[in-house]
């Protein structure tokens, strides 16, 4: 299994990797206090380190996940405190340099699949805690993950120094802002450990994030991530219906804690981020993130089409009238309406609203097509344990039908995205992983009658 650059975590669901508990080694080493180790464990959650540094089915933090990049597969490294294969010999300052500057203990540069341009903002105090955790809170794993072996010129790691010079900021080493200033705290988490911009900020020609902080309106303005919309996270006034701009702070907090709210249900790569990272953050930190995101004015983005809130009853009338239906509308009534209803609004937290939904209005329809074909499953989180599932329809809808349905969704209830072609559906279908689908196809053998009836 391999994953895309900054898109590395869907497989974690299948791995059932849920808890990264503190093992008993903390007491044995005794050089750091437990509170600091616990703090480091929390920060490692905030940074979602486990997502990349764990192979499918592998031990947490032992590395080996293949991350697809435009230059070839980059394999994540073992960051357990094993002295031979992990980072057990790293000093605190070497660890800090790796995290914040992308420089290995031997001086070589890390590939920027590691989000050190974002982690550069992590404070000294938090680096200390992370170091304590990785040295004393994680069991060493004596395994050498596959080594990254890119072709020339990308195997010339010295070249990255040039990239770094252009595209990263100098590390800042301030103490992390605390809860007394929620916006500052939120900015620190979003720009730094959360590395939200890795997915949600558009990338430039050299694959660099176009902005690393909110001084530039490209920051968190939405991006296309291998066909999935990583929607704009700029939550302030500006452009209605763009990304999460219509969400309240409480709704942002609820989404990060549970992967669901009155507007949306998580899909794609964000599913794993919710499950392994944000659902474990404190309420205060989630509130801070929400408060900060609401300070960023929303802007136009070519990743998502605008939505016309005035048009939403026309589609409902068409569906309830049920005459002269397009094929897409008919498919909707037959396969979608039971949960999402004629008004497209579904039911809060259970059936996501399709009205103004950013995935449906994404410029690239691949994520929507994928969801129709494969279905979806919500993560189980402490506050919302239920793995609600949407059935996949790949087994019963042709490419043409999915295209008609997707077009209907993209143009109903005030949604205004362009139509979808059967070719686009075929392209997504050809990449479907059967392991990741939630098929509602009945058993091929018709029924399993009671044993008595077999006799």
């Amino acid at each position: 299994m391999s994953r895309s650059w900054s898109q590395v975590s869907v497989g974690m669901l299948a791995m059932g990797l849920v808890s990264v508990a503190l093992p008993a080694v903390a007491q044995e080493h005794g050089s750091s206090d437990d509170a600091q180790i616990e703090r480091g464990a929390y920060l490692a959650r905030a940074g979602d380190c486990v997502a990349c540094h764990t192979a499918p089915g592998g031990t947490p933090f032992a590395g080996g996940l293949a991350i697809d990049s435009p230059f070839g597969a980059i394999y994540s490294t073992n960051i357990t405190p094993d002295k031979d294969h992990g980072i057990g010999n790293y000093s605190r300052d070497q660890f800090a340099a790796a995290v914040r500057q992308g420089v290995r203990a031997d001086g070589a540069n890390l590939y920027p699949a590691m989000p050190y341009p974002a982690y550069a903002k992590v404070s000294d105090e938090d680096i200390d805690a992370l170091y304590a955790y990785f040295m004393h809170g994680v069991e060493p794993v004596s395994e050498q993950p596959t080594k990254t072996d890119l072709s020339f010129p990308f195997n010339q790691r010295w070249g990255i120094a040039l990239w770094d010079w252009f595209f990263t900021d100098d590390p800042t080493t301030a103490t992390a802002p605390g809860g007394e200033d929620p916006v500052a705290r939120g900015r620190y988490l979003v720009e730094g450990l959360g590395h939200c911009g890795s997915c949600h900020t558009p990338r430039g020609l050299a694959y660099q994030s176009k902005a690393l902080d909110d001084s530039d309106s490209d920051f968190l303005s939405g991006a296309n991530l291998n066909g999935w919309l990583a929607p704009a996270l700029r939550g302030g006034d500006g452009v209605a219906g763009m990304g999460i701009s219509d969400w309240s702070e409480e709704e942002i907090v609820e989404y990060l804690a549970t992967g669901r709210n009155a507007h949306a249900a998580v899909g794609g790569e964000m599913t794993s981020v919710i499950e392994h990272s944000t659902s474990h953050l404190s309420d205060d930190d989630l509130q801070a993130i929400a408060a900060y995101l609401k300070t960023l004015p929303s802007v136009e983005s070519d990743t998502q089409h605008a939505f016309d809130a005035t048009a939403d009853s026309d589609t409902e009338q068409q569906l309830t009238g049920a005459t002269d239906l397009s094929e897409g509308a008919e498919l909707y009534l037959n396969s979608c309406n039971a949960c999402h209803f004629a008004n497209g609004k579904g039911a809060p937290r259970v059936f996501p609203s399709l009205v103004g939904n950013s995935l449906i209005n994404a410029d690239d329809p691949s994520g929507l097509i994928h969801t129709i074909l494969a279905g979806a499953e919500l993560p189980s989180t402490p506050k919302a344990p239920e793995r609600l599932m949407m059935p996949g329809f790949a087994w019963r809808m042709s490419d043409e039908e999915v295209a008609n349905l997707a077009t209907f969704l993209r143009q109903g209830w005030g949604n205004q995205a362009p139509g979808v072609s059967a070719d686009q559906v075929a392209a997504v279908r050809s990449e479907l992983d059967p392991e990741e689908t939630h098929s509602s196809q009945p058993d091929p053998v018709y029924a399993e009658p009671n044993a008595s009836e077999q006799e």
């Binding site: 849920v18 808890s19 396969s335 039971a338 949960c339 039911a347 809060p348 937290r349 259970v350 059936f351 279905g375 189980s380 402490p382 506050k383 919302a384 344990p385 239920e386 793995r387 609600l388 599932m389 059935p391 939630h438 098929s439 509602s440 196809q441 009945p442 018709y446 029924a447 399993e448 009658p449 009671n450 044993a451 008595s452 009836e453 006799e455």
Partner: protein, 590 residues
């Protein structure tokens, strides 16, 4: 040699409603819990639309039920007959697999009333001496409504119960059921929307002076999050409820209300395809040591446990106690023993009405949709003057209108061919039902024991049911039929057909009647007449607890699930408060 598993604190036999709730409570208490389920795993993936919407597979072939071959039951009406095995389920539908009956139930969720929990006391205070038949065996539950109220309330919040309170802390609320026990809280959700059948029933019963109220429904009316953080979505009236898993997250079940929360807990695990054959008795004669089961590969496995919770279906609970030799089997001749005693069922009947002038849209239906009257509950009127003890509720439901089961033709129609088709087409959508669901008293000669002739593939005897309808209960249902006829007169259908039992009828297991089988391992305060004490703790093994409708000393007119769940919480809270710190009998035998 059996495989020996590592000891655990708690083993649960059967992962349905009661097993799931016990799992939550005992993991909350910090104990290591293992649940053993005889059937297959069932996750939400099994219920994805349109998988469950298959009437042939689930409604006709009963794909979610136990196998009669391995878990069958033999039936006879009296001791003079030879019991014969059910080779396919007809009169009741015992569930199988994770979720158990809680996955395929209809979703009508009632509480017992204060009187229903103390029928013996009620009868002693109300009826003339000598009025009750000599062979009627009436008992109180040994727990009061007030003691159970918080637990009813909790379970209703877990299930997202939709409906209208009729008695809120003693205040009677218009539009609810005025005959119910007092509730500490309103229903978590408002009632389901009304259908035309509901409206007609409501108008007719009101004009007769009765008190219609919405069916209390665990097919929920709105999106809901329960105290475990589990979620339900609004019911869309698809009509696939009884016998089906819900395809819309709308019906409360272990899957939608408990299991994903339980599975997150490190101290909980469950194993499917594990068929428990025996509960193992300890040498001390006062406890059990664990359970022995056959796993999916055919291995015999011993699972040691400090506590055993028997959480399977009524019939399976009784059978496993009998096979394990725990508790004295009931003997109706000598009237000694307890296991299998007080087996009861439910007394049902219905009319079907045809109205050319009404179009009911029967494709819109939900198991918990309907309107009901409790005006003929056992304590709502003087039943003695009508010659019986007991009562029924009378209801209408726009119940499942499947293509196979829901098609109606007039009496005298051929059962196939073009005339049948014409009749079926003409009458589709013009039928309305009214039903009655009634209490069933316990009798000395209605009981469960092990069958002397029929065995399962492991060589163990099947359970034998000796059961018949009795005059008291038939008089009761005939009275209800008359009340329903009054409603029919009020509504004025073009024609109607009836299906009621009458005095002299004998139990007929060839048709579906109800899955509300109760008793056989009843609760009480006297070890001579009950299997478990009022905390559902086995009188003869203090670390064995038996959950489910097998606890009911006699059956009530109300559906059992709410009472089963409330009793479960009642028991497990007592265990957490008293038993864990000080294991031993929670009541003395004397």
């Amino acid at each position: 040699m059996p495989i020996n598993k590592q000891p655990v604190d708690v083993v649960i036999i059967g992962l349905g409603w009661t097993g799931s709730l016990i799992g939550m409570e005992m993991t909350d208490a910090g104990l290591d819990v293992v649940a053993l389920e005889r059937g297959a795993d069932r996750t939400k993936e099994d219920f994805l639309y349109p998988k469950p919407a298959d009437e042939l597979k689930y409604g006709v072939r009963l794909g979610m039920m136990q196998s009669p071959r391995t878990d069958g039951v033999t039936i006879r009406r009296n001791g003079g007959e030879t019991a014969l095995p059910q080779r396919q389920w007809t009169t009741f539908h015992p569930g199988n697999g994770v979720g158990g009956c809680g996955a395929h139930w209809t979703g009508v969720l009632y509480r017992a009333t204060p009187t229903e929990l103390s029928m013996k006391s009620f009868a002693d205070a109300t009826f003339s001496p000598g009025f009750l038949p000599e062979n009627m065996v009436m008992q109180d539950y040994g727990v009061t409504y007030d003691e159970l109220e918080p637990h009813f309330d909790l379970f209703e919040r877990i299930a997202g119960l939709s409906g209208q309170a009729g008695n809120l802390n003693g205040e009677i609320i218009d539009g609810g059921n005025p005959f119910e026990g007092p509730r500490s809280n309103p229903f978590p959700l408002p009632p389901l929307p009304r259908t035309l059948t509901d409206t007609l029933f409501t108008e007719a019963t009101q004009s007769l002076g009765w008190h219609p109220y919405p069916y209390p429904s665990a097919n929920v009316s709105q999106a809901y999050t329960n105290p475990y953080g589990m979620q339900l979505g609004p019911c869309n009236f698809c009509g696939f409820c009884s016998n089906y898993g819900c395809l819309n997250y709308s019906k409360a079940s272990p899957q939608t209300c408990v299991l994903d929360a339980l599975k997150r807990r490190d101290n909980f695990s469950y194993r499917t395809q594990c068929d428990v054959r025996r509960i193992n008795k300890a040498g001390d004669g006062q406890t059990v040591t664990g359970v022995t089961y056959i796993d999916g590969d055919g291995n015999e496995v011993f699972q040691p446990a400090k506590m055993v919770f028997l959480c399977s279906f009524t019939l399976s609970n009784v059978r496993l106690l009998l096979l394990s030799g725990i508790g004295q089997p009931y003997d109706p001749i000598s009237n000694t023993g307890v296991v299998g005693r007080n087996f009861t069922y439910q007394i049902t009947g219905s009319v079907d009405m045809y109205f050319e002038r009404h179009q009911f849209n029967p494709f819109i239906s939900a198991g918990g949709s309907g309107q009901v009257i409790d005006d003929f509950a056992p304590d709502a009127f003087d039943t003695e003057q009508h010659g019986f003890i007991g009562g029924s509720y009378i209801y209408t439901t726009q119940g499942p209108g499947g293509a196979i089961g829901g098609t109606r033709v007039p009496p005298g129609s051929p059962s196939w061919g073009s005339e049948w088709k014409r009749n079926a087409q003409r009458e589709y959508g013009h039928h309305m039902m009214i039903g009655t669901t009634g209490s069933n008293m316990a009798y000395r000669d209605c009981y469960l024991d092990l069958d002397p002739n029929y065995r399962d593939p492991h060589g163990d005897p099947l359970l034998r049911m000796t059961y018949d309808w009795k005059e008291n209960d038939m008089r009761m249902t005939m009275f209800m039929a008359d009340r329903i006829r009054e409603i029919v007169d009020e509504l004025g259908p073009d024609y109607h057909t009836e299906s009621f039992h009458k005095v002299g009828d004998q139990f007929d297991p060839s048709h579906y009647q109800s899955t509300h089988l109760t008793g056989g391992a009843v609760m009480g305060t006297d070890p001579q007449t009950s299997v478990v004490n009022r905390y559902l703790q086995h009188w003869d093994a203090h670390n064995l607890f038996v959950m489910g409708a097998s606890n009911f000393p006699q059956n009530m007119m109300h559906n059992p699930t709410g009472t089963v769940a409330a009793l479960t919480f009642w028991s497990v809270r007592k265990i957490r408060e008293s038993y864990l710190a000080n294991p031993g009998p929670l009541m003395s035998r004397s």
